[in-house]
Amino acid sequence: MATLVFVESAEGKIKKTSLEAVVYAAAIGGDVIAIALGTEVDDSELAGLGNYGAIKVLKVSDDRLNQGVIQAYANVLNQAMTSMGSDILVLANSSLGTPVSARVAIKQDASLVTNVTELPDTSNGFKVKRSIYTGKAFANVELTKARKVIAIKKNAAEIKEIGGSAAVEEFSPELTDSDFEVAITGVDKATGDILLPEAEIVVSGGRGLKGPENWGMIEDLAQELEAATGCSKPVSDIGWRPHHEHVGQTGVKVSPTLYIAVGISGAIQHLAGVNSSKYIVVVNKDEEAPFFKAADYGIAGDAFDVIPKLTEALKAAR
């Protein structure tokens, strides 16, 4: 039995969540075959997936796949599952992976589960734990179809390096123009920044920061910590920060090791996006702010005073 893993990359590097997907697949048992679409990742990076448990990596060298066209991707993954005889496809939840997974599951007549948070229990059937109610609860579900498509959340598997390298092979699915009927005609993407859903540390600012001109200190702190920056919903609604930084129920859900919230009250809809963070630090001048109840560490103080001090302290500790 072989498990197929769809891996995604950013700027030529395999994403960390995709490495977790490879580790997840390896933990299921059986051979792990990874597949990468497009021409933007070089062979040595792909072979490196062996270090995480893949024995083989399929690459689909087709320029048209450098853009994440949902239908075409689903078609490729469907053909790869069939041709490799894989019963299971594992991938990371992402803006591309999740919509693609749904279509593959229907093509394969497979059970589909997204937002999986832990390794499966295969002692009796195939059971997984998934996050529901926007992180406020979990459901343990049994996947009842013979084939399965599993989309995992960040941190569902702990990365282990086992050494070794994987054989890289070309895979040439049949694709027609109709697979590219939905055209991506423009991309507007911040480059170089640390991506919010992938980040190990996130520094987020809320309305307590008073205005966009005060984000400098957030960015300084983020830079010192090599963190991504986020914000609360009103902050992106008023346009102080771009929409893709908005964290919470209706925005990005993050699960970093450390989440630092500055001048955010801690409304339940904001908490919904951050409650799977490992540690939460809250800076708020109101010691009654609800966010403190969800925090591991709290500083009741004025952000304009605390944040520069914190950045200085970190610099000093370096």
Binding site: A105, L112, T114, K127, A137, K189, A294, Y297, G298, L310
Partner: protein, 236 residues
């Protein structure tokens, strides 16, 4: 233009979540139910599109009779008619089958859904329906404009967005800022009472997963407060 909007009936975003019956059932005690916030965006955009170029809006929900007040609210916001598939939505495959069955011969130009439901958070149903109907599915969609039979959308990706163009019919999973949520006015509420709400029975009982049990996250330990003058303690 013929529009279908699929809506969920979900606990209000401020609800405290708990379970009963040996963690087999969601505890509805004291919970307010609303139209899923993302579905509300989809509906609001549908109303705007109808205002611009005419047509009709059907809303569909897969759920028991308790969802009817939520469906009526969607009618009050501006949908013309509603369909309720009379069944508990047990899993996303089951829901997708019901939606696809309703849509397959109905000639919808656009099927708008939320990017995800806020109870099961699958983000799965729109892609499944698109595949079942053999039409494109695009999600998460931040803006959507129609020009003839073409649709131009922006889709959120990690760290930014991309412009996506496709021909109708298609399925879109919507999120903000596609439109402002609409609040029903008095006239809407009055007319919603008499708009048709058709109840149909499910077409299949096929599922691909079964619930073992629900579970709540472990309680968070107490917060450790640090004096604002001693932030360096945090560094250690």
């Amino acid at each position: 233009m013929k529009l279908l909007v699929c809506i969920t009936h979900v606990p209000d975003t401020t609800s405290k979540i708990s379970f009963t019956d040996d963690d087999q059932k969601f505890d509805q005690t004291g919970v307010q139910f609303i139209i899923g916030p993302y579905d509300d965006y989809a509906l609001a955009r549908a109303v705007e599109l109808k205002e611009q170029s005419g047509g009709s809006i059907t809303v569909l929900n897969v759920g028991g009779s308790e969802t009817e007040p939520t469906i009526r609210k969607a009618l009050a916001i501006g949908a013309d008619e509603a369909v309720r598939v009379n069944a508990d939505p047990t899993d996303s495959l089951f829901v997708a089958k019901q939606i696809a069955e309703h849509a397959k011969d109905s000639g919808y130009d656009l099927i708008l859904m939320g990017r995800e439901s806020i109870d099961f958070n699958g983000g799965m149903v729109h892609g499944m329906v698109g595949e079942m109907l053999g039409i494109p599915s695009v999600s998460p969609v931040m803006t959507l404009d129609v020009d003839g039979d073409s649709v131009k959308m922006s889709r959120e990706i990690e760290g930014g967005k991309e412009v996506v163009e496709a021909k109708m019919p298609l399925v879109a999973g919507c999120q903000e800022p596609i439109a402002e949520w609409k609040i029903p006015n008095m006239r809407g509420i009055m007319s919603a009472r008499t708009k048709p709400l058709n109840v149909v029975e499910p077409v299949s009982d096929e599922v691909s997963s079964t619930l073992e049990k629900y579970e709540l996250p472990p309680a968070k330990g107490a917060v450790k407060m640090i004096d604002a003058d001693k932030v360096s303690e945090l560094v250690d």
